[in-house]
């Protein structure tokens, strides 16, 4: 069946996709697909995905896609880009993959200015395993491993990855945080990231996203919690003022 709602680079045979009802990943991947359509780069893109809910995107698109290991999508995409610099290497991960288990690779890629497009979806929890506490979980937030609310003493406050990366990233790198509350801004951030990759520099887009299944929220409450996230994780570009 042909769906005129789908970006051209979607793999129709893998739809309906496997993400939960109301999942932010599916919203983000759609914006990624339409950006890639618009820029006509689907033949150049190599899409790498981390483990976590992102793994469900292994056959989401009709372009070269490799599912890697947890926290290891950046290293694999570095290998891809080095081997074939003409390719556009996109590394797609969650906040667990990027800010916990794979953090040192993310930091070093930013620091070395590796020309990969890193996309990190932040929904403040480990969703695939059923909603555990992540470095991005807010103090007081209830998850399955913080059943009475995350305690900042001993478990940390909440990790602002964009701020962290901005202190190590090369001057030429592009860093931005956007939110699924503004899909059009996601598209413009993706475009900027692809431009940066064209110039052989590192780019990083963190996207604040919703997780209705593990947050146990309906549509309205999901976007309400997202607003709360936007307060704590400011939607902005680095360097500031650009």
């Amino acid at each position: 069946m042909n769906y005129k709602t789908m970006p051209k680079c979607y793999k129709n045979s893998s739809k309906p996709h496997f993400f939960c009802p109301g999942c932010g990943h599916a919203m983000i991947l759609k914006q990624l697909g339409s950006t890639i359509d618009e820029l006509k780069i689907s033949a150049e893109v190599v899409f790498g995905i981390d483990i976590g809910c992102s793994l469900l995107a292994w056959d989401f698109f009709d372009f070269d896609t490799i599912q890697t290991h947890h926290g290891r999508v950046i290293p694999v995409m570095i290998g891809v880009k080095k081997a074939n610099p003409k390719k556009v290497a996109v590394a797609y991960m969650g906040d667990g993959g990027g800010y916990a288990i794979g953090l040192q690779s993310l930091i070093h890629a930013a620091y070395r200015d590796d020309p990969v497009v890193a996309i990190l979806v932040n929904n403040t929890n480990y969703a695939m395993t059923g909603g555990q506490m992540a470095p991005t979980t807010f103090p007081g937030e209830i998850t399955t491993t913080s059943s009475s609310g995350k305690k900042s003493s001993g478990f940390g406050n909440y990790l602002d990855g964009l701020k962290l990366l901005s202190s190590v990233a090369d001057q030429s790198a592009y860093l931005e945080r956007v939110s699924v509350s503004n899909p059009r801004q996601i598209v413009s951030a993706f475009k900027k990231a692809f431009e940066t990759s064209d110039k052989n520099h590192f780019s990083f887009i963190e996207i604040l996203s919703i997780c209705p299944t593990n947050w146990k929220t309906d549509a309205a409450d999901s976007f309400e919690f997202l607003k709360n996230m936007e307060d704590k994780f400011p939607v902005q570009k680095y360097p500031l003022g650009e």
């Binding site: 190599v46 056959d59 599912q67 290891r72 995409m77 040192q104």
Partner: protein, 341 residues
Amino acid sequence: MKKFISGNDAAVQGALASGAQAMYGYPITPSTEILQIWSEEADKNDRLIFLQTEDETTAGFAVNGSVLMGVKAFTATSGPGTVLMQDGLSMAENLRLPTVTIVMQRGGPSTGQVNYSQQELNLAVFGGNGEGLRIVYSAGTPQEMYDFTLEAFDSAWRYKFPTLVLGDGYIGKQKTEVELKHPLNPYQNSSLLAGKNLRNCYSSEEQFYEYLSKNILDFEEKSSLIARSESIGPKNAPELIVAHGSVFFVIREALKVIDPKSKKYQLFRPVTLRPFPKQDLKVAARGKKKIWFFESSYGQLYHLVSAELDAASVSAKIIKVFKPAYRFLPEDIADSLKGGK
């Protein structure tokens, strides 16, 4: 062309002769020179790719990435680094990525000592979370570091299994004459990802079992083409000595003195630890009164071999000479053999 170089250098020369284009790694004694020499080569040649990564894990996965794009790529490590490499090797096993990993063994567990051991056999052969669908060569001299690296690249790309060359600190650091024979017909590489969506994670036992069974069957079928052994001494000798890597060569030296007429001992080595040359071993073990095991680990080779020996229902007396993370000298071998234990 003959050169006076170290085993580590020989491994780099082997990689270059194989057409390797990318190397990723992290410094660790005693394999650091591989990283170092490759970086010097990459400085001189724009075609070569080099990245000193933030850790061994990243090095392993970056190799996977480059191999996916059809580039011959490798890494080199040792000890705790070999432990960190297992994650990337598991991915390579599951996706049939022809990566090459050079392992120069040092003492463990933990940071242990940086000199020498044969304790990374288990890691090399079965270190991942699966069935060990890998090819592992055990090199015993700097010359073999060159030869087996050539062979490793060829087997990796021909059969599409991650391939390891197992050496040790002594042969890595030792400088001696190495003959750099050029490979005749290196196997051609091409992109493994073009036009594909590849995954490592399956939704059900059923799907994964089907996929995994296919890979295991393929590994079994290719095994007879890959598995290789070497034997010296008379096949009808009463006693068999089994060893691998540099220990094999130490014993060969010892036998020149102890058994100069080559009557008492047959000396056998698996050249490939995985797939294991089962058939050759069975033939060698047939009719023996005694079978000796010499290794610089607490029985890692013995355990690998013993399953096959049982299958051949060998009645020989087994004598184990294990020196975990400690070298052998020909004199030690002579003492053990004479002691008769």
